[in-house]
Symmetry: C2
């Protein structure tokens, strides 16, 4: 690769930059340290001088001194579900504003993240976030031994020294059950996500609790693995039955879109006249008129804020203790399920708040 | 942060691991170097020993010796469009298999990526990929000076020493024009993406060339900025006109979904009887029955393969020269636009190949 820095072969140093900019070396260092205190005008002059000289601060060498890489490892299994790209974009922006960046690792949805552990450790990440993957006890132990704080996003784990940020999975599942019961449905279906995920388990537990509380039979059940094609197959299974459900709780919105497609275009069913559908997440496409999906919300922005806050506290705090944060959601009512009494309009959105259920 | 490594305070070294595993230090080093030659059984034994001792190889220290960080910086502006999460997930998996990982930077869609340049340089990335952002000449020059290869994904730039991987933007735009003309339409509309992007410009140029070649009037025009809300607003502008288009080329699929929603649910129009819609990308939702979108394809998997290949060649090659790669696509015919003659079925998909247009 050709270099165009001119005749000098010696890379420019901070001392060179300081001399040209007429500042101290310490000011040069502060100019390139995210969050460090320095006057905007001075910083601009230093960056200009650095650009002229082709100087670049060496984050790697610096990290050997500060023992911080300013890298957050993020393990994701799949980005197909609209929820995760939203999370990733917001999380990247928030961390970036604090001088950290996300190093992306991809894992299999169903398997544990362990195959990438050696690499995660090799990059000496300051912290590790697992989104849409489960945590094995081996990985948890490795991170604990290495002093790397771990945060589960949209999952919980029983491992010690691990933090988590989730929505109200169990309460949301229960409210969806109550909502569908109040809508007069009697044959319920549940489409599970990844079976081993705490998220799918918690949502199902809440949903079943509602049936049980009303003495109603257990919901019919199929597994959609949180994928579009998996959910479509699960919908075909449930809707082919002679006793097909008149209401389906789809384990997340991404699966609900697939189930809506299959119900309407393959089975010729009307939604919600023939079958009511409710999702979980309240992501963008839920709002599209084609789907008009009733869904329990997981406020991405708040969840990301809390995740970044907890992670920074784990990295930079004096004696941080792991935290489990649950971010409240609402049952957002649209057109994909029959609407019972108990809906109120809040900030221009219809939400279901039966008496006594307010968070 | 509490450590649980036991009583020893000295971190384990490669020598310790070599002794326990009964191998040479060089074997330990190879075990932790992605792509290095080592027997699977030996590698397993070394990883087991490393785990027992709490040893982790130091990628940062190693990168100071090899002068490789094995980090690829990726600048993305937005992940809302389904195309980019697909790209990001595949790209991460491919790079990961080669021992590289993606460090994510977020930038504004409309602005240049420069605000993050100091940080990109500070991490000493081995290469930089810009997806969904434009490249300023200042950034191109900075990267050239620093010897960092740059690749534009889904964009081109006139800057020297920069590679690019794109779909067939101009040819695709022209084919879409020919397709809609052959379908008997006469009042055309175009919804542009981000105006400064080469992608939007190239697609529009091809589309206009088709109108011009047939002596037809120029298309009506609105700007959707590649966002869902922006495209919805553009659709309202075009469809409110007394001389509203009977065929709209939507600058990408993500905008086409929004335009389809507005046409059907706000204007009560039938697609394609009242208005034909064609998109660009052929991403997942284009295939959903709710939209059944005719679209010019950008094969994500092939585009990502070529991008990874070009980037690795730029990083590891002896005397690499920048490359501009154009990945061919097809006009995939579904239900959102009137279907003229000239369609053939290929691999179970209907594609439009008028005589003489085969790639």
């Amino acid at each position: 690769m050709s270099q165009t820095r001119g005749s000098s072969n010696r890379p420019a140093t901070a001392t060179d930059v300081a001399r040209i900019a007429g500042v101290s070396q310490s000011a040069v260092s502060r100019a390139f340290t995210p969050g460090a205190s320095i006057a905007a005008e001075t910083k601009l002059r230093i960056i200009e001088a650095a650009r002229t000289l082709g100087y670049r601060p060496n984050a790697i060498a610096r990290s050997l001194i500060t023992r911080r890489s300013r890298v957050i490892g993020l393990v994701a299994a799949y980005l197909q579900n609209h929820f995760y790209p939203d999370v990733l974009e917001l999380m990247s922006r928030r961390f970036q504003a604090l001088g950290y960046h996300i190093l992306l690792f991809t894992a299999d949805a169903a398997a544990h993240a362990d195959p990438v552990m050696e690499e995660i450790l090799a990059y000496r990440v300051d912290g590790l976030i697992l989104a849409s993957t489960t945590l094995s006890s081996a990985l948890a132990a490795d991170c604990r031994a290495a002093g790397i704080p771990v945060l589960l996003f949209n999952r919980t784990a029983r491992a010690s020294q691990v933090s988590s940020v989730t929505g109200e999975n169990e309460r949301g599942g229960r409210l969806i059950g109550e909502f569908l019961i109040a809508g007069g449905h009697r044959r319920f279906g549940f489409v599970a996500g990844v079976e081993v995920s705490s998220t799918s388990q918690d949502r199902e537990r809440g949903f079943r609790a509602a049936m049980a509380a009303h003495g109603l039979p257990e919901p019919l059940r199929a597994v959609g693995h949180y994928t579009f094609d998996g959910a479509a197959a699960a919908a075909r299974t449930l809707l082919s039955r002679p006793d097909r459900p008149d209401a389906i709780f789809c384990g997340n919105d991404h699966m609900a879109l697939a189930i809506s497609e299959v119900a309407r275009f393959e089975f010729g069913l009307k939604v919600p006249q023939d079958v009511s559908l409710v999702g979980f997440d309240d992501v963008g496409p839920a709002r599209w008129a084609s789907f008009s999906l009733t869904s329990f919300s997981q406020p991405v922005s708040t969840m990301v804020d809390r995740a970044v806050e907890v992670m920074i506290e784990q990295i930079e705090g004096e004696a941080p203790v792991p935290r489990d944060v649950i971010v409240p959601g609402e049952l957002i009512v649209r057109g994909s399920a029959r609407v019972p009494a108990g809906c109120v309009s809040i900030n221009g959105q219809l939400v279901w708040r039966p008496e006594g259920s307010a968070p």
